[in-house]
């Protein structure tokens, strides 16, 4: 339904326009048609009116790192279920990683993803293509066609590009096609088949550890290549203190680097895996308190540009097993807002910065629409109730998978209304009336 929607009395937080105040937002024909002082718009004869007192009205959130599993692993997630979960999390757009089956290393898969996303209609989906054919790390994928088909970036996410020369060429060639290169930073010979962060806890549990240097060595290489080629690079799911120090230093030198972390890296430490909790198994692994502190600092000081969820759905079959055999990854679309809002409540971030990290910056980094509530832009909007309390349960999850270490957590703060292209994609039942 694309009609007129009047959002009254919400706290409009729109960093792109320097706005943070109680305002009314009017949506007409899929676009934002007015952002004005309350009670200044004439009574609308038709359309929907929401009184959003106490709630935030922010540009639709953009998750630049999700796994939608379709094609190939539809039992874990489909583009429809994944984007529905995204909408329920306040996201109006997601960028999906190429490690589908088959790998999204060609225009056919890219076109398929975009068509499926349009059919579902819950969120804009930006496919990210593979850097190498089949993500095998050997030959460059056809970046030009990927871009023409609608890809916004390239990565072999899930795997690093081990060959430095290939990564160099990827950076150079991606520039020709205006594609963002996203680095999954992991030196495989160090991480081997590690199952958790390397250290005393891994020793106690008898699990093979992944040392933090496995990430940092690759972050350093990719920053060096970005500087050498003069091309931008985006570092995905940063998890360690030293990676952040390297990124901070590169930014200071003027290297075109952007970086993201995920809510679990600033919320949990490796302790969450104690007792062999496979729901907390991920790659890169959960790290230490010192790493969490460094991530919080980097979110504040701009070393980190974005919060992405690395939403990685897995079926029970993939997690209910021996720890070191269990799949890596957790779902994240429906917990990103409450986990980030926790930081706002604890005064570790302000609301404006939260919106920058979850919307403004991802839009800018990917070069896509969104990240602003300017008049005339497509109406991609999230309404967040920062006070709403709920318990995150398996039953409440809209993603097809349930693999979250946050099950049973009492959360505060939630997206209660999500609008994409002027169309309501999510409305929290019973939360407010029109």
């Amino acid at each position: 339904m694309v009609g007129r929607i009047h959002l009254k009395n919400g706290r409009v937080i729109d960093p792109a326009n320097g706005i943070d105040q109680i305002l009314d937002v009017l949506i007409e024909d899929g676009k934002i048609s007015a952002v004005v002082q309350p009670d200044t718009l004439p009574e609308q004869p038709d359309g929907i009116v929401y009184d959003l007192q106490g709630k935030w009205v922010v540009p639709g959130l953009i998750d630049m790192h999700v796994h939608l599993r379709e094609p190939g692993q539809e039992y874990k997630e489909t583009i429809a279920t994944g984007t529905r979960a995204a909408a329920a999390g306040g996201f109006t757009a997601v960028a999906c990683m190429p490690n589908t089956k088959p790998v999204n290393d060609n225009q056919t898969v890219t076109v398929f993803i975009i068509a499926k996303a349009a059919e579902a209609g819950f969120a804009r989906v930006y496919p990210v293509g593979a850097i190498s054919s089949g993500s095998t790390g050997e030959h460059l994928a056809e970046f030009g066609e990927l871009r023409q088909a609608g890809a916004v970036g390239v990565t072999d996410d899930g795997l690093p590009v081990g060959n430095s020369q290939l990564m160099r060429r990827a950076l150079e060639y991606a520039g020709d096609h205006d594609l963002l290169v996203i680095s999954h930073a992991e030196e495989l010979s160090l991480s081997q088949s590690g199952a958790m962060n390397d250290g005393p806890l891994a020793t106690r549990l008898g699990l093979r550890g992944i040392p933090h240097v496995a990430e940092e060595i690759m972050v350093y290489r990719d920053l060096a290549l970005a500087e050498f080629t003069g091309r931008p690079i985006h570092i995905a799911h940063v998890s360690t203190r030293e990676s952040l120090a390297l990124i901070r230093r590169a930014k200071k030198k003027g290297v075109a680097v952007t970086a993201e972390t995920a809510p679990h890296y600033f919320t949990l430490t490796e302790k969450a895996v104690d007792g062999y909790n496979t729901l907390a198994k991920m790659n890169p692994p959960l790290r230490t308190e010192a790493d969490v502190a460094a991530i919080l600092e980097a979110l504040r000081d701009g070393t980190l540009d974005a919060i992405a969820t690395d939403h990685a759905p897995h079926g029970e079959l993939d997690k209910d097993m021996e720890f070191d055999l269990a799949a890596n990854g957790i779902i994240g679309l429906e917990t990103a807002v409450p986990l980030t809002l926790r930081l706002v409540r604890e005064n570790r971030l302000d609301a404006r910065r939260m919106v920058e990290l979850l919307s403004v910056n991802p839009a800018r980094i990917l070069g896509v629409v969104g990240g602003t509530l300017s008049v005339g832009v497509p109406a991609d909007i999230a309404v967040i109730d920062p006070e709403k309390k709920f318990v995150f349960t398996a039953e409440s999850i809209l993603s097809k998978s349930r693999n979250s270490p946050f099950l049973g957590w009492e959360m505060q703060g939630k997206a209660v209304l999500t609008i994409m292209d002027g169309k309501i994609t999510w409305r929290q039942e019973g939360d407010f009336s029109s």
């Binding site: 081997q192 390397d198 250290g199 005393p200 806890l201 891994a202 020793t203 106690r204 549990l205 008898g206 699990l207 093979r208 550890g209 007792g275 062999y276 079959l317 209910d320 097993m321 021996e322 720890f323 070191d324 055999l325």
Partner: protein, 310 residues
């Protein structure tokens, strides 16, 4: 021991879960059972009608046999499943296989598995007592207990002893259980091996780390050599067995640096001439076969206590 004490664990997954009082109880019970194995009729009716499944995913002749002998000496019925014969080969998950076994109502499942945490996974998913017979590089509690028993027999008391464990600490579940067990009982444990085989944070389990074998065994009451797994050479952990034997093998010279009455232990099987001089393995200081004998008694005690005996 507190007269009110009762062994109250449903499972034995690791020595980390047992208190020093629990360990005392197991050792005392094992002492009293040891005599059964010395009789001409080596069988008591204690666990008649009970069913025990030995679920072994890894090849292990001695541990499996030791558990089986222990169970049979108490008249329990035992069944053995090994990896090659189990449905996991057909793609069934560990949990499903375990659930199927549990549906046959055994009283205890004894699990050996190459993955750390497998015993806990089983315990979390089936309503049957589980004894961990070694899981990955995590723990091997019955081996730890039999080592404690052997040392207590030889030395009278564990508290105050110095135990030196030499070898592949990183990949040894035996070392992990021993470090935890001996330190819980008041001994000091020093580990030594190539730096590549000493895992980070081993101190947190209760061990001190020594860089030289001579320093590690200085004043030691017990020297325990660990098996060097030859397949580990794939991962560049040490250059050759030859060099390992020269710098970390337990030789007469090493033994001479310890206390004169030092005992020599090894969890077996031994690579003779690699981690341990063959003469020492068979010499008068060696208690290696005593360990094996005590293994049966300790496993009898564990099975008995788990099944509610007191």
């Amino acid at each position: 021991m507190d007269p009110e004490y009762r062994f109250s664990h449903k499972h034995v997954l690791g020595l980390a879960d047992l208190s020093s009082e629990d360990i005392q109880a197991v050792l005392q019970t094992a002492e009293s059972f040891k005599e059964i194995s010395a009789r001409s009729i080596k069988k008591v009716p204690t666990l008649r009608g009970k069913t025990i499944i030995n679920f072994f995913f890894e090849p292990s002749t001695r541990t499996r046999l030791s558990f089986e002998v222990a169970a049979k000496r108490m008249s329990a019925d035992t069944f053995n499943i090994s990896n090659s014969g189990s449905s996991t080969v057909k793609g069934e998950t560990l949990i499903d296989t375990a659930r199927n076994l549990a549906a046959m109502n055994p009283d205890c499942i004894i699990l050996r598995h190459p993955r750390s945490g497998a015993a806990r996974l089983l315990a979390d998913h089936v309503d049957v007592s589980v004894i961990n017979a070694g899981d990955g590089t995590h723990e091997h509690p019955s081996q730890g207990l039999l080592d404690l028993m052997t040392v207590r027999q030889a030395k009278g008391e564990i508290a105050g002893l110095k135990i030196a464990i030499i070898g592949d600490i990183a990949h040894s579940r035996v070392a992990h259980s021993n470090i935890i067990g001996f330190s819980k009982m008041g001994a000091s444990v020093t580990v030594c091996g190539p730096a590549t085989l000493i895992p980070p944070g081993i101190e947190a389990l209760g061990a001190q780390v020594s860089r030289s074998v001579m320093e590690a065994v200085d004043g030691a009451d017990v020297i325990m050599a660990l098996r060097i797994q030859k397949e580990r050479q794939q991962d560049p952990l040490f250059p050759s067995l030859r060099e390992y034997a020269k710098f970390f093998g337990v030789s007469q010279k090493v033994v001479d640096a310890a206390k004169p009455e030092v005992i020599i232990m090894h969890p077996g099987p031994i690579n003779r001439g690699v981690e341990l001089d063959p003469k020492l393995a068979d010499g008068r200081r060696s208690v290696i076969l005593e360990q094996v004998t005590n293994g049966v008694a300790v496993r009898m005690a564990l099975i008995y206590l788990i099944m509610g005996g007191d």
